[in-house]
Amino acid sequence: MKAVGSQRLLHAAILAVAVCAAGGAAGAERGLQAKLEYCKTCHGLSGQGYLGYFPMPRLAGQQTIYVENQLRAFIEHRRTNPIMTNVAHVLSPSMVAALATHFKNLDARPFGGAPRDLAARGKPIYDEGIPEANVPACSACHGPDAKGHDEIPRLAGQLYSYTIKALRNWSRERGQGGTREDTSAIMAPTAHNLTPAQIAEVAAYVSTLN
């Protein structure tokens, strides 16, 4: 009698744990879906980016390590953006990992909208750099297809106006706050050495890449 009772108790306990775990997983899945919808309100339904008052960057196909680095940079104020600092603050590490993986696996078409003649002039800058102006080939780090790797971001299909804004404001928006290590420092001289016209050309070129 006593043995049967304790066995029942054990079964009940196992069942309770199983239900809790399943409920927790379902809750986490709902939380992820709601957060994805929130991200995509601004970054586009397929993660292709969106042009609001400010350009919202493409996240589709972006490197997960880069996305995680940037979300941390917003929180640590190494990258200045009041909206994204607030957004990043409430994300748990497991949520960040799930979001980054989701966006890495999206394959949206480029947002488009860059002047075509500029794109043609941007290709040699991307492929070979401008040695006389101390601008290295973008392809050397970002890859010949501009897909990036690890902490080096994908540029292929990125919004034309976003890339322009990023390069023109590089040292004002990134690598802030002094002491903490920030990989954005490596881009600072290159962003500085490009003229506004060259920035527009190379931004137009990468915006057309699939």
């Binding site: 601004c42 339904l45 609001g52």
Partner: protein, 195 residues
Amino acid sequence: MNLAKIGIALLALVYCVAVPALGGNVRNCTWCHGTSAQGYGPAPRLAGQRPGYTEKELRSFHDHTRDNPQSRQYMWGATEALNAHRARTLAIYFSTLPPRAAKDGYRDLVAQGRAIYELGIPEANIVSCLACHGPNGEGVRAIPRLAGLSYGYLKSRLEQWNEGYHLAAVPMPTVARSLSPDEIAALASYLSFVR
């Protein structure tokens, strides 16, 4: 003779040609939207609105994709005979009129509304309005100017997405779905005071 002078001369010429041609159309609009297009009751202010937005909305009334009750009642008929060229000319005309702020929201909700407008509420998955509508609600291209629209108009627009109207206006139906009635009142109050 510099470029600016040529520009002014051209503008004057366009104005002389366009406004008499617009006459009848503009009078039709002003019955509800007011003679200086500052809006009246449920009819929103058109003065100073982004021409890209006004043109798009005129098309969406014409195509019946903007299907809120007031739109059906008034704007479907008003735009029935409006061709694309006239819609563009009207939109440009209204964008040149100086807008005045309605300032008819609740002053005690302004601080809350401003916080939601600027930063959203990340823990509730409510996005920042500023990212698309601009730091001062000025709008850009086909994204509307919200600054100084009337409290009642802003409130009813945000409510109607929740009620299933005008679902083609992506991403606004998703944005509005996360907003509570209190948050809608706060946003509409804040924006009514922005100039």
